[in-house]
Amino acid sequence: MPDWKDKLALVAQRNRQEIVNAKLSRREMMRLGLLTSTGALVAKSGLSSRAFAQVPLTPPSPISTPWMQPMPVLPIKAPLSPSALTHGHPDGTTLIDGAGRRINHQLCAYDSTGTYSGKFPPKKFYETFVREADWKFHPSWGPSKIWGFDGMYPGPRYNAYYGEPIMVRFHNRLPSRAKHVGFGLPEFSVHLHNAHTPSESDGNPVDFINSVNDPNEVNPLGFKDQHYPNVYAGYTKLNDLRGDPSEALSSLWYHDHTIDFTAQNVYKGMVGVYTLFDDKDTGDETTGYRLPSGEFDVPIMFGDFVFDRNYQPVFDLFNSDGILGDKFCANGAIQPYFNVKPRRYRFRLYNHGPARWYDFALYDGQKFLPFWQISSDGNLLPQALMKSKVDVAVAERVDIIVDFGKIQSSRVYLVNRLEQLDGRGPRGNILTPGTPIIQFNKVGPPVRDNSIDPMVTPLRMRTLPDPDFAALLARAERAKKRTFRFDRTNGAWAVNGKLFDPKEAIARIDQEAEEVWTIENQDDGWSHPVHMHFEEHRILSRNGKRTSVTSSDYGRKDTIPLYRREAVEVFMRFRDMKGRYVMHCHNVIHEDSGMMVRWDIV
């Protein structure tokens, strides 16, 4: 018998030439589903990666029966006293430039009497160990190697509060770079996505640190302190060290951002959740906006992977398009179930990528169910919107409220309805019902629910910092304009025809300035989720069309889904801090291949 099945399974990466080399007959190829009746090769499951024309077929992941395991709930990180931190209390300095330079934190200091001072002295201290660990993606599988914060994928959840600055010590305990084999570089620079953070703590791509397991490297202790002021933007003009509460952020996340290796390291597992609260979004459903809280406030990180026969994640190192997985994880579990009580929940939906775009919906086996969207990129909206599905591009976040008390069915699925065949992004084809990722099982009798029922009482939340859109447009007219083209040039991902050069700032912007940036994608082949660090922006127009109040572009954003042949005009602000920052495509494979720019606030 021809061993064509073995031939197909053996080689890890393949393309059309390989199939040809394997000498499969047309009939065999049809049987394997590699060929359509018209004779064109089709992409099988597994990494849908490089060109369709030369399909590199990664064998599909091992079988995993869905709904075999509960969805993990991310543990909440506990603070320590500063003196309890490994290597002692933070001393007011931090490492930048590949740990080659040590500088003072901009916004906090430490003096010899042992007290913290400066604008935002930290009130809480944390430390986290980034290390390799075994992780079970599925109960019937063997362990997979991941790199995670505290050895977990995703990492723990930080609950932070406005007005309560924190300091986090990141320890690099990854394997030695001399010994580690396979994708991932054991160095990292942690970025807190959408926080208003001083440059030296922002996770700039060049501010990576080496592992303690490489003691001959420049940073033998292998750690870096990062300062998160947890302050609303705009405190400089208001002169109050508090800032503008309408700039509040709520669902943030942290991930590695190290230059050239972000995609590999994120795919290794270096992601986690950071949620911010204040006197309105309180984390207590009897106060403030009265959103579902405590065990009913559940962040969920979505990521897709391909695994080899030994359950190890496979990363196509020679793909610069964007890799897709055939296994969908929620909080590190492949297709888990989640038991819920018949009441309201706040789910914070995070898409950590690396390249998949989602369109989430709730499906009960017969129909799609309505839910409330309460945020956009984790920023609470002025009011809750009733939706039947929400788009979440890579790095975007959406918080939703689901009322299981009102749902008839005892079993509901969170599904992804968006079809995506390669790293180029979705083509707009909406699937029915789509791929189920989480099974919600309603269990137990009704329980107490102090959260607001948006069906009964309209849920009003954050007013926008510039609620008068016409006035904002008038200000935009006076602002400085810049254009950034996200395109492909000479086989690489570029911005304005240039590849990322960490030494070159393409814009020098005065602190407190306001600018209008046009983000363009002239290529009709690709979509890019474009992320700007530092401050939220407002989308003024898309393809010349003013943003309407009902559009998903309306509100504060930090990531722009930039589809083919689009131009998006955004209103940018640069308040309170100075230093270097970046804007980049959050299809992190594009980022690593050059689609990033550095800009400085001076």
Partner: protein, 200 residues
């Protein structure tokens, strides 16, 4: 002070490293090997024949780009830039780093043509220009990730001439960089992926 100077000055040792035992064993790696990279027989600009994986890639640290002689603008700029990179890397090239420029037009870029080209740029030892069977070179191009998902763009060979693949086969560690970055920046990237061996 750069990393090297720091180490030279003995500061790294003085700072008392705390080496922890690895908590988890490194995952076993099955080499991609010739299966993936192919053992296509290529000819260097010096007329030597070599199997791509076995002779040129295996256990080596490499910098790879694609080039063709008829392409005057971008390829020449890249080659010029890489000459500066070779200069900056000094005697590491040919010792712990090998540079390969693979022809995008192997039918035209014979070993003699490539030899001329290498001489024109005063390329030093440790850097080879490679040519071979067009179909095999094309496969190699795809395997190394110098390709475009859009067939029309993929057919435009200029599209593949501006990137560098930097890697170490033994560790399966691979990165890509823009070939036209300033030579100092490029060397920074190269040193990060392929750190210089240290004299202890």
């Amino acid at each position: 002070m750069n990393r090297r100077a720091f180490v030279k000055a003995g500061l790294a040792a003085a700072a008392a490293p705390l080496a922890l035992p690895l908590t988890a064993q490194t995952a076993t790696f099955t080499s991609r090997g010739a299966n993936y990279f192919t053992d296509a027989v290529v000819t260097t600009h010096e007329g030597r024949q070599a199997r791509f994986y076995t002779d040129l890639l295996k256990n080596r640290r490499v910098i790879i780009n694609f080039v063709f002689v008829g392409c005057t603008d971008i390829c020449d700029s890249v080659t010029q830039n890489l000459v500066a990179v070779q200069e900056l890397l000094g005697d590491r090239v040919g010792r712990d780093i090998f540079m390969y420029s693979i022809s995008l037009l192997p039918d035209f870029d014979t070993p003699e043509v490539l030899k001329d080209y290498a001489e024109r740029f005063a390329v030093k030892p440790g850097w080879s220009f490679l040519t071979g069977q067009p179909a095999e070179i094309d496969l190699l191009r795809w395997r190394l990730g110098f390709a475009d998902i859009d067939p029309e763009r993929d057919a435009n060979i200029f599209e593949h001439a501006a990137m560098l693949r930097i890697g170490e086969e033994r560790l399966d560690r691979w990165a890509m960089a823009a070939a036209l970055l300033a030579p100092e920046s490029l060397v920074g990237t190269i040193n990060r992926v392929l750190p210089p061996p240290r004299a202890l």
